[in-house]
């Protein structure tokens, strides 16, 4: 019963220039997707510190998404390359902690990819639902 009713809380760090604009396009195109994702627009995926990701899990996120411009298309030239390297390390760290790897994802969504944004959100929510709430890194309150 729990698995059916569980609505995961997901924090999505979207870069302002591509992914946030892509999610705006999904909106303009009236594409429907689950309401589980709370977007936080940042200037660049390269500005997403590992601490933000840990902070989100610590504060009760069931999943975290970091989305930036496609490699090579970064508004800030190379911020997303730094993000890609950093995120790979964070992913390993989280797996080492024992967190299910599905709970943390990175994607590339351009300003023209409203459809891709919707698909990513839909898939992400579907993948996390069976896992139930994230408790590994959640601060006990």
């Amino acid at each position: 019963m729990m698995a059916e009713e569980f609505e995961p809380k997901i924090v999505a760090f979207l870069c302002k220039w591509c992914s946030s604009a892509g999610s705006d396009l999904a909106g303009v195109s009236r594409m429907q997707y689950p309401a589980n994702v709370l977007p936080i627009t940042v200037m660049c995926s390269g500005s997403v510190s590992p601490l933000y990701i840990l902070s989100a899990f610590n504060k009760g996120a069931d999943g975290v998404l970091v989305s930036g411009c496609h490699p090579g298309d970064c508004h800030y030239i190379k911020g997303n390359y730094y993000a890609r390297r950093r995120i790979a390390l964070v992913k390993k760290l989280l797996e080492f902690f024992g967190l299910e790897p599905q709970r943390f994802q990175m994607s590339w969504v351009s300003a023209a990819e409203g459809t891709k944004y919707r698909e990513i959100i839909k898939d992400f929510v579907q993948e996390i639902k069976p896992l139930g709430p994230q408790t590994k890194l959640r601060r006990n309150v």
Binding site: K9, V11, W17, S20, A21, S23, D24, L25, A26, G27, V28, R30, M31, Q32, Y33, A35, L38, P39, I40, T41, V42, M43, C44, G46, S47, V48, S49, P50, L51, Y52, S55, A56, K59, G60, A61, G72, D73, H75, Y76, I77, K78, G79, Y82, A83, R86, S110, A111, A112, E113, R118
Partner: protein, 648 residues
């Protein structure tokens, strides 16, 4: 305690239809630090903005959050509103509850809950915002125009005639673009060369324009108002000042290659002038096809050149220019012929594309304006024109409409009839799109006066049989198969962004859309600007368009560029990196990752060059000691935003 005001916009029913705006206001009113929360039907309207200004004054608000559409639309609107109310503009933040909430959800309870969280998150952020004043920088009052087709020429002339210096860069040996290849232009049938060559001459002679042909932009650095550009000027091996255009060199050159200007319908030598009216009027030695620059390998052209204009030792030159604004007018190319195998293009000599047919029609073309089949130089008596060759075909080719083909096909069919009175023209079409001044009348004229037969349907197969080109198609209006024994087939090939436009967009760091055309900042309200400030778009590089539209956009882009160039100083966003010197250990990791070379080490601490910093925050994510952060995007703010997003 902060005194934050929260204003929730209904956006008619765009937000209020899915989000319970009253509930959002009620919930936000309870949020710590919020002293005022209200909703209104259109917050961006004049009464809506006045409501915010009045609330700031009456309730003594020091922070404002507007929950409305995407910040890309109205962030600046509401920041100016807050400023009118007496606040610093950075004390206003936007909560995007339309594009990222009401428009993408249907369940009112869930959407309302999400809107509350998004708005609370914006409240948390604004409460820790610093008041900032814009950083101002001087403006270089010159412009760069990339692309010397009609759009680039028009932009350059408009800028130069307004008193600004212009650097016009063209990759080919001559300016003129595709327009100079055309025969006559719809709907007036005036000669393309006759109307364009005076403008080409004007750009080359204008005292304010530096024309760099056979040149390519290699690198662009800097920012709006102050760009540094490196341009590669390829060697032509001919000194234009000495060249007398005597044409002796081409007579002795042993190499013949397909002529680009005539789209392969004729040949040219390795040393050539693209067309007689080329600007600059000089020859170019095409090094790719020349047997060798060493006189020992060939050297025939230099031997016969009396004025000694040919210089085999000419070297590529890197030209550095400083400009304040950049107009990108890189134009279009036709869709790759290899991709249109189903229409026999490239396989059968008598299947041509629209530009090749323009050359046949042109009085200065390979046939001197006579319509002759490339295979046997006979006059074709039945010609089939196929529209949408590659356009409007999302499964196989380009999904978009190339926009100009309906009109130029009507023109082609009409001009064909003017040349071959006893000939018959057929046009296969999906729809006729003839929106534009006198355009519909033009198409009607083709049908009524020139007897062009329009067949609504697609062509399924083209093949050669007994010297004819068999065209199998269908007329969907009468529901019958059509079979035509044609002498020539002309394909209205799709337009696509010009070759190299994608690489250039990366160098310029400007966005392109899914089809590779340059993206405008707003599809309706900012059609000639790129999202990246200081870059403007003109002509078919942005989307397929005809000559009048390209010219209009080019003038628009020039006018927009002038809004920058005419200013003494420009504002630069002050949301830049800030160092906490007591935490900085001078490790220099942030200096290494900064894409703008805005950071440097001085006396063991990092310093920020605020003019160069774009505020991307890569430094902040790299610093192990949280000693560097972006103003108004600090880690503390992000942590608070995460907390309220998760309902904490």
């Amino acid at each position: 305690m902060k005194r934050t005001g929260v204003f929730i916009c209904h956006c008619g029913i765009n937000i209020a239809g899915t989000v319970d705006v009253k509930k959002v206001a009620k919930e936000l009113a309870k949020h710590p630090g919020v002293t005022h929360a209200e909703d209104y039907v259109y917050m961006c309207s004049d009464p809506g903005q006045n409501l915010i200004i009045d609330a700031i004054k009456e309730k003594k608000l020091d922070k404002v959050v507007v929950a409305c559409c995407s910040p890309t639309l109205h962030e600046s609107t509401f920041r100016n509103t807050s400023k009118s109310g007496g606040l610093n503009e950075f004390q206003c933040e936007i909560a995007n509850i339309r594009e990222q909430c009401s428009w993408v959800h249907k369940d009112m309870t869930k959407a309302t809950e999400k809107a509350i969280k998004i708005t609370k998150s914006a409240v948390e952020r604004v409460q820790k915002n610093e008041s900032l004043e814009p950083i101002t920088v001087p403006v270089t009052k010159r412009a760069l125009v990339i692309g010397g087709g009609i759009a680039g020429i028009q932009s350059a002339l408009d800028l130069a005639n307004s008193g600004f210096e212009v650097v016009l860069v063209e990759k080919n040996p001559s300016v003129g673009g595709h327009m100079i290849q055309l025969s006559e232009t719809f709907p007036t049938l005036d000669c393309s060369q006759c109307i364009l060559t005076p403008k080409m001459v004007e750009v080359s002679k204008h005292p304010k324009i530096r024309l760099l042909t056979y040149s390519e932009v290699q690198e662009v650095s800097g920012y709006v108002g102050n760009f540094k550009v490196k341009i590669l000027k390829k060697p032509t091996y001919v000194d234009p000042d000495k060249c007398t255009l005597c044409d002796e060199c081409t007579k002795v050159c042993p190499v013949v290659v397909p002529d680009e200007f005539d789209l392969g319908l004729t040949g040219r030598r390795a040393i050539y002038i693209p067309f007689p009216q080329a600007i600059p009027a000089t020859y170019t030695l095409d090094i790719k096809n020349c047997p060798g620059l060493l006189p020992i390998a060939c050297g025939k052209c230099a031997d016969v050149c009396e004025p000694e204009a040919i210089d085999y030792d000419m070297k590529p030159e890197i030209i550095e220019e400083e400009v304040g604004a950049i107009i990108v007018a890189t134009g279009y190319d036709l869709y790759d012929k290899e991709k249109m195998a189903e229409y026999g293009y490239g396989k059968y000599a008598n299947v041509l594309d629209g530009l090749q047919f323009e050359r046949l029609l042109s009085a200065s073309g390979p046939t001197l304006g006579k319509i002759l089949r490339p295979s046997d130089h006979k006059e074709p008596k039945e010609v089939v024109f196929i529209q949408c060759a590659g356009s409007r075909d999302p499964e196989m080719h380009c999904p978009y409409c190339s926009k100009i083909c309906c009109m130029y096909t009507a023109k082609h069919a009409m001009l064909y009839k003017h040349h071959v009175h006893d000939g018959q023209a057929y046009v296969f079409y999906i729809d006729i799109r003839s929106g534009g001044k006198d355009y519909e009348e033009f198409v009607q004229r083709a049908v009524e006066e020139d007897g062009v037969v329009y067949l609504r349907g697609k062509v399924s197969k083209i093949f050669e049989e007994k010297g004819k080109i068999k065209v199998w198609g269908v007329d969907t209006l009468i529901g019958k198969d059509i079979e035509i024994d044609a002498d020539m087939v002309v394909l209205a090939m799709a337009m696509r962004p010009s070759q190299g436009a994608k690489e250039l967009s990366k160098k310029l760091k400007i966005a392109i859309d899914k089809d590779g055309f340059l993206s405008e900042a707003h599809p309706k309200l900012r059609p000639v600007e790129s999202v990246s400030s200081g870059f403007f778009l003109a002509g078919a590089a942005q989307a397929p368009k005809d000559i009048p539209e390209a010219v209009a956009q080019a003038s628009g882009a020039a006018a927009k560029a002038i809004t920058i160039l005419s200013q003494e100083r420009l504002h630069h966003a002050p949301t830049v990196a800030k160092v906490k010197p007591n935490l900085c250990t001078g490790c220099g990791m942030c200096v290494l990752v900064c894409p703008y070379e805005a950071l440097s080490l001085k006396n063991g601490k990092v310093e920020v060059n605020e003019v160069l910093c774009e505020g991307c925050g890569t430094c902040s994510a790299t610093c192990l000691r949280a000693a560097i952060e972006v103003r108004n995007f600090t880690p503390l703010q992000i942590h608070e935003m995460i907390r309220s997003s998760l309902g904490g």
